[in-house]
Homo-oligomer: 306 residues x 2
């Protein structure tokens, strides 16, 4: 079987595009037979990007036999990977998240983690001179990953290196970066078809703070009214999600990409306390606007207090 | 305080030289104030190398305040690092061992793990064009790290890349690689001054197999008779080491660098079983010669069975 290249279980653009980019590199440059796969349904932006650049949607696989050769991208968190991940033959990890501990490998492998906004940017660096061999559709994926993870350079995770690479790729592809980013964000914002539980779990990570287990969900959108109009129904669904996923609280942040602010839904006093202690917010009602908050990684998780 | 750069608790040449190399790079090329430190007394080969290339022996530190900025080299194993390692501000990890899981970082950092023989080789690659700025004493350390970890290219961990780099450095330094390696190995073999417990713990890692906790110790030497003449006394000391370190068994391999074989001491039927099941050996007496066995990482640990 071809080497399996996959990201995390909630495939956004970086976790969908990066496996395709790296599988291209392995197949076409390294001469290693590789296949990009997804661990779940891609979000609407990722689906748009895949189609836009003329790729077939990668196969969705949730189970892998022990010993399967694999490359992990865009995560190092076992909770976001197949249950038997430590039984796979993981040959490389390329990621830009904090090390959470828990992944183990049977021997020394290639691991590259960099504090960049986007996995695809790290891949560009790893390719070295071979990056010049990228065809337009791979460049398009790479550009899309960067625009998505940086929210078109608005997120504080953005580095000069990510930005310069995106601008170079857009120039080579002869496309207008702002227009294309708007198309991507419109696709991401088109979430009407999803159930409340699907919205809560769409871009969500679990974190424990002082023994309280949170599901920290982020909806990045240029149309915040779509989820916010469903506020009451979303919060009613928290109990079900908490019970099914074994977490104590849900924190749902609706990130307005253009206004550069987040709205946190406040269903109870615990979340109210989190909003006040973590972000210095004054909460009055069932939601609170947090100006400037855009990044779970840089702004939400590091500040989370109960 | 300067950024602290350190390897593991049993500093061999790579774990002593690599912090010095990286601290040089950070100070002189990156402009980041950095200090190489050791987590324990360097072994005799490492001490020889440090003096040979004109360095002061780095300070030995075993405790670090929470929040101390640090770079970890040549390990990713919390058991080989300060107890409070996850409270330090770890900014980078450069390593060539399998991922054991357990290290956590507060944010995304630089992590580079490569399946090369030696940490110093990875550092050369990370430096890129700046490697040309290395002064002779840094080149000398780098050469020493490669010769030590590859046992002068005899270990199966050796890659073409490690070997080519060592040969290039020896040529630039105008030293005879074979002669210098012999000097290093003679220094490593000069272990008469150490107590039995010190010898057992000198180059030792803990691994659990099927619930049995082993201390897997390796003595690489060109003078195997020095430790082997103390066989009985060494095995008598196992009980003390096991009790103090909380392990069930000690496996002590005396690796004859020149003959490319290991002698495993066999104090009891458990270790006898390990020798038979792991290496297909026929054990008769209190030790057994294992032809070709030189690498804990590549040959001992992956094959360990109880």
């Amino acid at each position: 079987m071809a080497l399996q290249v996959f990201g995390h279980k909630s495939p956004d653009t970086d976790s969908t595009g990066s496996p395709l980019i790296w599988a291209w590199y392995l197949n076409e440059v390294q001469g290693v037979e590789a296949e990009a796969v997804l661990l779940g349904e891609p979000n609407t932006e990722a689906a748009f990007v895949v189609e836009k650049w003329g790729f077939e949607k990668p196969a969705i696989k949730t189970e892998f036999e022990a010993g399967t050769a694999a490359v992990i991208v865009d995560t190092n968190n076992p909770a976001e990977l197949p249950d038997n991940i430590n039984e796979l033959d993981v040959q490389a990890i390329i990621d830009h998240h904090k090390l959470v501990g828990g992944l183990e490998t049977k021997g020394p492998i290639d691991i590259t983690v960099r504090p960049l906004a986007c996995t695809a940017t790290i891949m560009y660096d790893l390719m070295g001179d071979d990056a010049a061999k990228m065809p337009d559709n791979i460049k398009g994926l790479m550009l899309s990953c960067i625009l998505s993870d940086t929210l078109e350079f608005r997120s504080p995770t953005t580095t000069d290196h990510d930005k310069a690479l995106a601008e170079k790729l857009a120039a080579e592809l002869n496309i207008d970066l702002g227009t294309y980013a708007s198309e991507m964000f419109a696709a991401k914002s088109d979430v009407s078809a999803f159930s409340d539980a699907e919205l809560i779990r769409m871009d969500s990570k679990e974190y424990a703070v002082d023994g309280v287990k949170f599901r920290v969900s982020v909806l990045e959108t240029t149309a915040p009214e779509i989820p916010l109009n469903r506020k009451a129904s979303l919060m009613e669904t928290y109990a079900t999600v908490q019970a099914e996923d074994g977490v104590d609280q849900v924190l749902l942040f609706v990130v307005d990409i253009l206004k550069e602010e987040a709205t946190l839904l406040v269903p109870n006093d615990v979340v109210k306390g989190v909003a006040e202690k973590s972000f210095g917010a004054t909460v009055d009602g069932d939601s609170v606007v947090l100006p400037g908050i855009m990044s779970r990684k840089k702004q939400i998780i590091p500040n989370l207090k109960v």
